[in-house]
């Protein structure tokens, strides 16, 4: 049994997250001009189609432009140090592109390879990323040149916006299944290997949409 969520219900979910005090980050168009990832104040700010990808990245969520690391107070000769309030609000990125989500894997490595950056890690722990696969690209896209794909799954949970699947079959993680592209489906499965829940979801979808996958050689990609 595959799970499908409609755009309307996704927005409702986003609305509930916002009301519950979670911080939601997603594509919005602040005014005529570029679409940007930004903190959403309301669910109807979330923009799910009509553009290729936002002009900025999701880096802000885990590595903000500016943050207070510590503070200090001098009183005569006395120095007292202060720590910023520890972050507690959960943050959810909705509608990230796979290329943007993949960057988090690299950042995880950068902020942990020699020193465990507690500021980064705290934000990372609190962050959940929900990607939306790409149904179109422009002349500047190059995910395939760096080993990614419009439907790649690397970090975070997957929620295909399956409404679009009904309109354009070459979409989301369902695309390779619909195209019977064995190599891509196997690549997707390999990427999901460490996550039993997602694997189960994908397997369920696969068995309903491509029942002969196990036996069928499939068309070449």
């Amino acid at each position: 049994m595959s799970e499908i969520i409609s755009q309307e219900k996704l927005r409702r979910l986003v609305g509930e997250w916002i009301s519950a005090g979670k911080r939601v980050y997603g594509p919005r168009r602040p005014k005529p001009g570029p679409v940007l990832y930004a903190w959403l104040k309301a669910a109807d700010e979330l923009l799910l189609d009509g553009y290729v990808r936002p002009a900025n990245s999701i880096k802000e969520v885990v590595f903000p432009r500016h943050e207070v690391l510590y503070s200090y107070r001098l009183e005569g000769k006395k120095i007292s140090m202060g720590e910023p309030e520890p972050l507690s609000a959960e943050r959810i990125v909705v509608g990230a592109r796979p290329c943007d989500a993949a960057s988090l894997t690299i950042l995880d490595h950068v902020f942990n390879w020699d020193y465990k950056d507690s500021f980064y890690n705290r934000r990372r722990e609190l962050t959940t990323v929900i990607t939306v696969a790409c149904s179109r690209h422009d002349a500047h896209c190059f995910c395939t040149s760096v080993g990614l794909a419009p439907d790649a799954v690397l970090a975070g949970y997957l929620a295909g916006v399956v409404e679009r699947f009904r309109e354009s079959p070459l979409d989301s993680m369902t695309g390779p299944v619909a195209r019977r592209d064995r190599a891509s489906v196997e690549a997707n499965l390999a990427a999901l290997a460490g996550e039993p829940r997602l694997t189960a979801l994908y397997q369920a979808f696969l068995s309903s949409a491509w029942p002969d996958f196990e036996k069928d050689g499939g068309d070449s990609a």
Binding site: L36, N56, R65, A139
Partner: protein
């Protein structure tokens, strides 16, 4: 006109009247044309001229790596030419040591850039050679600054709220500075750190400091090419900020930058008659 442009550039290079032609080339007709630096006559065929020729090529005239290429010829639309006039006035280019190739222009951009609807320099006026014919209809100041007038209907509190929202998006990429033909300081005040004059962080405080400074440093100089607005990756309405100061310069001093090569610049000169109602 395109053939005429290419032929003119070919001849300039072949006759040694220019060492480099700074013009437009384009691969994808749907994308803006990009700058190209042609040094061989046969490469003049790469030059294009169409409504996607958006960049202001005058910005390259003050770059040391371009100056090193030799005597330049630069393709200019009317708006670009205004920047050239300002640069010449400020002693940054020697008009006698370069060739300005004017192109008559009906407007650029798809959709049309905002600046085009109030343009009164469709036909370049000070170029050494001009391709094409266009009419320069005067535009009255009310139309020219309509966007600012509209904006000033907001209360000060609303204006502050507007700029707080706009400037919160700034990431201090400095694309606006990079693309501006009049931001040619080899050491920008934003780069000074002993002491630091402008907070360089991408916080609201730093963003206000930068944009106030840049707008003010362009007061009475900005040519209104709007390349800064187009270059901004997060869509900040820099046009509005620059237009505000242009309006102030015209309203208070009757001055428009880049329109008259002989006019005295507004900042850097003064008059004993300058109004001072606001000074106690």
């Amino acid at each position: 006109m395109l053939e005429e442009l290419r032929q003119t550039c070919r001849a300039l290079l072949a006759d040694g009247k220019a060492d480099v032609v700074i013009g437009y080339a384009q691969d994808d007709p749907a994308m803006p044309a990009y700058p190209v630096f042609v040094t061989r006559p046969e490469d003049a065929d790469r030059l294009v001229w169409n409504e996607m020729c958006l960049p202001n090529l005058v910005a390259y005239l003050t770059r040391p790596e371009i100056k090193a290429l030799g005597k330049p010829a630069v393709v200019v639309k009317g708006c670009d030419e205004r920047a050239l006039v300002v640069l010449a006035r400020e002693g940054q280019v020697d008009r006698g040591e370069m060739v300005a190739i004017g192109v008559a222009c009906d407007g650029v951009g798809k959709p049309r850039e905002a600046k085009c609807s109030i343009c009164d320099v469709h036909q370049p006026r000070y170029a050494d050679v001009v391709m094409g014919q266009a009419k320069n209809e005067p535009v009255d100041a009310a139309a020219r600054y309509a966007e600012v007038e509209e904006f000033l209907k907001k209360t000060p509190v609303e204006r502050m709220a507007f700029w707080r929202e706009e400037l919160s998006r700034c990431v201090k990429c400095y694309a606006c500075r990079q693309v501006c033909p009049l931001c040619y300081c080899t050491r920008c005040i934003a780069d000074k750190n002993q002491p630091q004059c402008i907070d360089t962080s991408a916080t609201l405080k730093g963003n206000f400091a930068w944009h106030l400074t840049r707008a003010f440093h362009l007061a009475g100089r900005c040519a209104g090419c709007d390349e800064c607005t187009r270059a901004c990756p997060v869509g900040i309405n820099l046009r509005l900020l620059n237009l505000t100061l242009a309006r102030s310069a015209e309203a208070q001093f009757g001055y428009r930058s880049g329109m008259d090569p002989e006019a005295k610049p507004v900042v850097g000169s003064y008059s004993l008659q300058d109004k001072e109602e606001f000074i106690r």
